[in-house]
Each structure stands twice: as structure tokens, then as C-alpha cells.
Amino acid sequence: MADFPENLKYTTEHEWLDGSTPAVIGVTDVAAEALGDVVYLELPEVGATIEAGAVVGEIESTKSVSELYSPVSGTVTEVNTEAVANPEIVNQDPFGKGWLFKVEVSGTGELLTAAEYAEHTGH
């Protein structure tokens, strides 16, 4: 589990984003494991303007509810409707099919490299 993809940036709140345009955003396997089985996702609406560090949705697991923070500011261009319909893919493939939403980025908050994130999470 110590291997976080090098091509991604991370937040201390366990989100990841890639460098593409628009940027793809998801939660890390650390978050997915800590949450337990994800059963419900509330994601921002397509077209919504969001702020880095602000709450943009919820991830609900069998046992708990966690807020979803955006690592970037910008406009939401797409949400993963397949993950909304089948939230377990967030557990199964958090860095791949379990992505959450895409953003046309206008600014970023504080982001970590894979190594920094590994250090932050103690892995």
C-alpha cells in the first residue's frame, strides 16, 4: 500500500488529482480503507464552481459519513455517474474506475507529491 502513483498530486485530506485537463479527482486508497465499504456518494453538480479546500460532497460508508474536499478551485465538468450508482468501485479501484469528478482548474490549494503524501500518512 506504500506505493502511491507518482504521477498524481495529493492532499492531506486524502484526495488525489492528476495533471490532465480537466483534472480528474478522487480519494486515495488510504481514505478508501479508513472509510470501510462506501455505500453512498454525494458529488458536486456539473457546472458548479468550487473552491480549493471547501466541502464539495460526502462519502458515506457502512459506518460513517465523511466530507469530500476539493483539492482545486474551478468548474466541475463531469462526475463519475458509475461510481454514484456503484459506490463500491471507490474501494475496489480508488485511483482508477473509482475516480469522483473532473474540474477545469483555475487554482489549487496546497498539494503534496506522492513521497510527501506517503510521509504524511506514515506509509
Binding site: G36, D37, Y40, T62, E88
Partner: protein, 388 residues
Amino acid sequence: MADKTTPLHDEHVALGASMTPFGGWLMPLRYTSDLAEHRAVREAAGLFDLSHMGNINVTGPDAAAFLDYALVGYISKVREMGARYSMICAQDGSVLDDLIVYHNAPGEYSVIANAANAGLVMSELLQRAAGFDVVLRDVQPDQALIAVQGPRAVEIMLATKGLAEDAEISGGTAFADLKYYACMGMRFEGEPVLVGRTGYTGEDGFEIWVPAGQAVALWRALLEAGEPLGLVPAGLSARDSLRLEAGMPLYGHELDTTTTPFEAGMGRVVRLDKVSDDGTPLPFVGRDALAARKESAPARVLVGLRGEGRRPARADYAVVQRGVGSEPGAVVGHVTSGAPSPTLGYPIAMAYVTPEVSAEGTELAVDVRGRAEPFVVVPMPFYRRPQN
């Protein structure tokens, strides 16, 4: 104060469990996935460490009469090797804990209490023992409690190496004839163990009290026998969703010191019909308050709720009237337990509501973080296991 660990702690760690504080103990929350563990119990079997449960041994000539006085149940009517769900109430009728009492040997009883309440139950029993010829012993530290729960539990018990019947200590029952809510003595690697056909999952299953020194060996033997049959170790998270589907109350949620057994729909455990040999009513702690409570209309009632959407309700969320759109209406109660039901595929919850909105089919909503999610009152249990 550091959380206590059970004799099986190292096994849990080796199995990769996420550990969590619970009632003063460090217990496995899950080993792999809550949902997978839950489903294993419904479809095959799960293995639980319940060694944190309080275990108070009651002996002496007055043991049965003492328990009739101390608890709300009619314990002197529990036959030898029988078990009974009961409660210990305060003088005002409020619930201090819910318990299972095993009549595990002639004139000997085991009172199994919730971990968080075990100290309180012991001190209450000691106070209530004044004038009775009984001996109370906290035997929790000497023993581990392991549960095997699920439709394949019988097969797993039969396949477990080292677990054997012994007519000398069985209490007159063969394993093949052990009934639900009864218990028997068996041996594991020569040591006596107590096996109860009881549980907290809504499935068939067994609970086994084993000397602490044999706990690891029994845990491993059960896993070895059970794994080919689908047995997996299961944590508190699965235990909670299983008991919720089965409509079983959890102390601290459905039951607490503001609740009598009647609000909780558990009035049947209060035995106002307890009488002495000459037919006079037997006094017990809480009797007067409970007798009065039984005759008065309840201010609130425990109901089952079924979610019509996908968002689960959680403990302490407000139950509301349906309003306009997603706007929550007037508050009519509060949720005590709630989760997405893994077996049924929709959210389920237990809630205390005012009697006017407690009828089956009543359309209500739960205020899920500011949004009214539709729920409807349904009968409990939510899930009942298929009968053979």
C-alpha cells in the same frame, strides 16, 4: 485508562484487523470489509471474539430467588441448561442493561452483560444480594467468549478438531439436540467449555465460553474447520449491521437509563406475574414503576424505518414529518440506529417516535444533514432467516 485487550488480541492483529475502542476494550472493527463479513454470516458463517462481554457467575442456595428479585425476568422458571434474555432495571423502571442469563448448571447461573455496563451490573447485583444466600463472581477475566454465527455453524462445530461431547458435563443434552436459547457443556482439548445456542446476528449459531488459556487454540481450530465452509472472522461493524437487520436492540442506542422495556417494545421481558410458592406476587427491583408504566400510554415508541431512497439515517438524526420537497418538517422522534442494510439493499433504521406516527406504513422522513430523506414505518425484524 488504556483499553483492555482480550486473549485473542494477537490473533486479530495477525489477521490484519482494524482495532477500535469499544466499552473499555480494544476490539476488531473489521478484518477486511464490513459488507463481506456481514454477507458471510448470512450465507455461511462468521467468527466473533466477544470476550469483552461481562460474565458474572451466580451460585448459592438462593441463586434463582435472587435473580428473580434483581432482574425483571422470571429466572427461577428457566430450566436447567436453558437461557433467557432479560434486563436489569433501576427502581424507576429504567433499563440499566440488557442481559442473557444461562442456567448453566444445577443452581448455577451466568449473567452475560454488555462490556460497557459490566461494572455497573456487578455493583448493582452485589447491592441487591443483601439478604440472599448467594455468591457472585466476576469470571470474565478467566474466560474468552467466541461466537460462530451463520447457517453453516452446526457443520463448523462438528468439524472443529478438539471439540468433543462428554456426557459427564453436558447437562443431559447431545449437541445434535441442542435447542435455540439453550446451552450445554462440552470439552475442548479436554478442558470444559460452555456452548450456548444463542447469538446477536439473526442467524443460527453458537457462543462458546472457553478458559482464557485455550482461547487462541479454539479460535484457530474453528477457523481451520470453518474456512472451507465459508467461515470468516467478523468484526463489530458486521455485528452491528447484523443485529440491526435482526431488529435487536443495542444498549446505548435503543436502550438506556431514559428508557423502560415498554417503550423499547420489550415489555414481554418484564414478568409482573412472578409469584412465590404460595401465590403472592414476588417483589423485584423496579416492579412498582414498571407495573404503573405498563398501564400508562407511552410517550414514544420504538419503530422500524425503511428508507425509500439510498441515503442511510444514522443514530441521533431527527425523524420528521414529510415537508415540502426536501425541506424537513416537524420533528416527531429520533433515530437510535441506522445503516444501509447489506442483505436487503436499502437503508434501515430504528427510531423512537411519538405514538401518533408509529403505525405501520406511516410515511415519515429523516433529516439527513439538512435534507429530508423519505422513510416509512415497517415491522421489525427487518430480516428473518429462512426456516428449514
